[in-house]
Symmetry: C2
Amino acid sequence: MITVEKTKVGLVGLGTVGSGVAKILLDHGDRTARQAGRVLWLERASVRDLSKPRDCDLPDGVLTDQIDEVVNDPEIEVVAELMGGVELAREVVLKLLAAGKDIVTANKALLAAHGPELFDAARKHGRTIAFEASVAGGIPIITNLSQCLSGNQVESLTGILNGTCNFILSKMHAEGVPYSDVIAEAQRLGYAEADPAMDVDGTDTAQKLAILSHLAFGAHPDWAAIPRVGIDTLDLADVRFAQQMGYTIKLLGIAQLTDTGLQLRVGPTLARNGSQLADVSGPFNAVRVTADAVGELLYYGPGAGQMATASAVVADLVDTAVGRTRLTFQTLGFWSNDSEQTKVADPTDAVGRYYLRMNTNDEPGVIAQIATALAKEGISIASFLQQEPLSEGSVVPLVIMTHDTTDGAMQRACKAISSFDEVKSEPVSMLVLN
Amino acid sequence: MITVEKTKVGLVGLGTVGSGVAKILLDHGDRTARQAGRVLWLERASVRDLSKPRDCDLPDGVLTDQIDEVVNDPEIEVVAELMGGVELAREVVLKLLAAGKDIVTANKALLAAHGPELFDAARKHGRTIAFEASVAGGIPIITNLSQCLSGNQVESLTGILNGTCNFILSKMHAEGVPYSDVIAEAQRLGYAEADPAMDVDGTDTAQKLAILSHLAFGAHPDWAAIPRVGIDTLDLADVRFAQQMGYTIKLLGIAQLTDTGLQLRVGPTLARNGSQLADVSGPFNAVRVTADAVGELLYYGPGAGQMATASAVVADLVDTAVGRTRLTFQTLGFWSNDSEQTKVADPTDAVGRYYLRMNTNDEPGVIAQIATALAKEGISIASFLQQEPLSEGSVVPLVIMTHDTTDGAMQRACKAISSFDEVKSEPVSMLVLN
């Protein structure tokens, strides 16, 4: 008789992702056993409300509404925190660590808010925290950045990190419908939350970019300090102009190592059609990494969804059971203050090409005024698009593509331009991806 | 004073990749130390010919032409085998394993020929073999398949695995020049070997596909039994017809799990323009993986090149020094006969759509004859392309796209068609990617 070892697993939270994880553990124990060399045994799953219908069949005795039955079960070695939210999740994770459990989490908001505290607590208690599912859903970007580029200096990382936004942008481009119409459809289809604010205003992307920047560059950025613009203010007119010029607008998180430190930004960005990031459409994610030895790598996959996220959680459970998580966790010292930190650069020093649109009166001298304002900031014009007004006296959109300049220069120029009487609304500027 | 632990590393072979690895270890010791928590110390590098000029500066005492100085140095813990070739490399690796060294190798031909023997020897001696660099150059596909999909059943894997072939095919499509012209240019540019046979005839792709199939599906395929067609026989006419119909021809390695086992094939394949694999151009690689939980993932990156391959070797050296390699190696039992093996299916049962071209006389009845031959095998025509002959009496190419059929039916139909007097050359058939 062969005795197979067991690693007993607890779940906290049994919503969409939690149910997906339970399904894999219960229905496909053979897989995880083959991959881990031991059975991952779902011992206990705690939920707030026992009466709520669930998307999975649990064996008797697994479900509980007492979180302490997970915390205090000495046989449970690893717990997946899938309850979401921030403050209660923090308390639960701290309790679980103190009780000697290793943690797997999909909760990027938790890590963004309390990463250093939680990782220090894990080190103090000799436990580990794995977080593959916290960024880019089913794409194993955390493992790839933690393990696979160890001979490299990463130079830049550019990601489509929010599937909801990418779905909405794809629709705006393909169907020419404004943001307000698409968001309603995305909510109906389940691609957007009832309250999509954190997705569409760039918060979610900034939190994920902060996590990836730590792994790729050794920086400890505060996500809230990353300059960010969402897609909720994106005007359909800009989608159309971008398309006319051969570009697609994507919500990108960008991290780039420069002489003055790590430049971080989140916002709608023009990507040239035919480039890999421009071609990612629908609720997918992609991460492009450039590094000095390997060159350019691109990862593409589902950014969210029950089973894709569960896939990442289960991979973490297996890595934790096998012991790989412990080795990586010990070596890399995630969010430890002992490690050397890459400095975050002043965002106004960021260099890039820009798209700039202004609505102006169709009067002589406007273009000269704008061109002078740009020249004053040393901004050089690469191309220029002006269409005839729809009717006499109506406002005329002017679109300018610049050569490389700094974010600070661009902001100053926009401020100057917005003060002109002939300019009828705030100028819109967006980065253009190289 | 902080004492940092050292892991002493040996290199066997100091050609293009070996020099790249030496450069990273010597010039960027801080990186590998940060990633491994210990210094990877290049202790000894053995070469055949000491007088040959090298692409890296080694400290005194590192270079030797006595391979036994690596084998017999008790302080060397891990050795990267980068000498290439098969039989001598096999002997060296067996000696190194017996001497208690862990192995890192980029040698896919070695693994394809002697994988089971070498992995058994490693297990016998309690050592490990890491082989990230053996497939897809800088793309960390080995680590991804070994670790990141443990909750999944992989359903299919489709790869552009040979950068030389992809470079040549890209040129044939973009410039409309025949294979014979491009191969000469590729050799001049260093994208093809002086003897490119193993690349262009599909051998290299089949060997890599065999390795990936083991990791993704638990199969133990004999690479030599994988049906394979190279690009060396690809006619420019077929490139043009494919383009006319909106496709790009790629040399693909395809593994697909079916009811009758694992279907494996290597050959030029039509990929629809706008799909991610069709858009990979130049000397790059890409691997598309579909799996039941995660859905579709795509990995893209450099398929070869000094530093990209060195990046993969160094990641393996770090994983070995940290201990991750040992955990993965023990758990997964690479190429062990003890593990359950997924059966390889009969290739003639493979299902797919096909592109079919025949050169025929412009005579009445030819199309009816061909259509009848296809119908007899149950093959249904999806589309049909016949152009007017260039001059009276000249041969007319007929191009047919079929609906799903089996490889066996296609082969039988082609045989029947080639026997018709009006058909002037062997029919050309290629798979069309779904």
